[in-house]
């Protein structure tokens, strides 16, 4: 098992490097400003906060875990917490010599959101989503600036009953290392 793991780790950067792309770093982290807006079940919910991401890179793929803490900005005040997992694919890369690159990312993710309204209502629901991102990645120092736009799908309620969902829009602006 150990041999297999070592072989996979050794092979991954070689494969990624073969097509000329700068592979994702084996381990990275990022902190982003998050803005979310949705109209699920006829109720508008807007929130703003911060998202912390921890990621493991493997060639053109990056597997990430993220946590978000935000404040509701809509008519009801409250808070939002979200934890999620996702995968990011380095779709295209325009390299600027050995300095860095402009990159196109496509990502898919899932998670669990907890919304708490100060009035007392609390909802916990799962979500799935997809997104596109534009990143400026420098190699030395190893810094990434990424802007992502995501569509998030979740089951919502309307007057206490399940209703078809209007997906949420999430924008992230962050720096990573």
């Amino acid at each position: 098992m150990r041999t297999l793991t070592i072989c996979v780790l050794l092979a991954t950067p070689a494969v990624a490097g073969a097509d000329g792309l700068h592979p994702y770093a084996p381990v990275s982290t990022s902190l982003s400003v998050m803005i979310r807006d949705d109209h699920g079940g006829g109720t508008e919910t807007t929130s703003a906060g911060a998202t912390l991401e921890l990621a493991v890179g493997s060639g053109r793929f990056q597997y990430f875990a993220e946590g978000t803490s935000a404040f509701l900005q809509s008519t009801d005040s409250g808070s939002e917490m979200r934890g999620g997992l996702g995968v990011r694919w380095l779709a295209r890369s325009f390299e600027i010599g050995r300095e860095g690159a402009f990159e196109l990312d496509l990502e898919g993710l899932t998670g669990l959101t907890r919304l708490h309204h100060d009035a007392g209502d609390t909802r916990v629901y799962p979500d799935v989503g997809f997104g596109v991102g534009w990143a400026v990645r420098m190699l030395d120092p190893r810094i990434v600036f990424r802007v992502s736009a995501r569509a998030m799908f979740e089951q919502t309620r309307r007057d206490g009953m399940s209703a078809s969902s209007v997906p949420g829009f999430v924008a992230l602006f962050g720096f990573g290392y």
């Binding site: 000329g20 779709a91 325009f94 600027i96 690159a101 596109v132 569509a151 309307r158 078809s164 209007v166």
Partner: protein, 186 residues
């Protein structure tokens, strides 16, 4: 209609000064926003688009796009004033067409361009109270942008553009889409 005619004339008869057009296949995305009519209601559409392009002939490329859209009432206060809930929906739109470089100029590793585009597509969108609607759409637009080239890069071209597009529908009139996009060329 006048814009359509002008664009067709430019596409067919225009002699593009296309000394800087990079005719390579491209993949990219766009974030867009604009007013449109949906089921006779005035809404704003915010969208994320993923698109591909491929050169076909001369300075002309064929493009295909898939777009996810959020629809929201343009004037919620007016809707509330007449006693109805503001419209909030979502949908998808697929589009295909041709874009042609009308003007393009290059300078070293950089170029800028003005393209005209013509095409069509279909939108499938829904809203809780209005239901689901399928709407055919004609598109005519202009794109202004610039690109960087690097022959040593895996994507040899990186393009950034601003798009202004009219969306012509048979029953809901003409909408508008303004977007900022980026494309990576092979």
């Amino acid at each position: 209609m006048r814009a359509l005619i002008v664009t067709v004339v430019l596409l067919v008869a225009g002699r593009a000064q296309a000394d800087g057009v990079d005719l390579v296949a491209k993949l990219g995305f766009r974030v867009g926003y604009g007013p449109m009519s949906f089921a006779h209601r005035s809404v704003s559409a915010t969208s994320i688009e993923i698109g591909v392009e491929h050169p076909v002939f001369g300075n002309t490329r064929v493009f295909g796009e898939w777009e996810w859209m959020w629809l929201s009432e343009r004037d919620p206060d007016q809707a509330m004033a007449i006693g109805r809930e503001p419209t909030h929906g979502s949908g998808q739109r697929v589009s295909a067409g041709l874009r042609h470089a009308l003007i393009a100029k290059s300078h070293h590793e950089m170029a800028w361009y003005l393209d005209g585009e013509l095409g069509g597509g279909a939108m499938l969108a829904s809203e809780d109270t209005l239901g689901t609607h399928a709407v055919p759409t004609g598109i005519v637009g202009m794109r202004l942008g610039f690109d960087f080239r690097n022959g040593d890069s895996t994507s040899r071209v990186f393009e950034t553009e601003i798009l202004v597009r009219a969306l012509v529908t048979p029953r809901d009139g003409t909408g508008l889409l303004v977007g900022v996009g980026m494309l990576w060329g092979d």
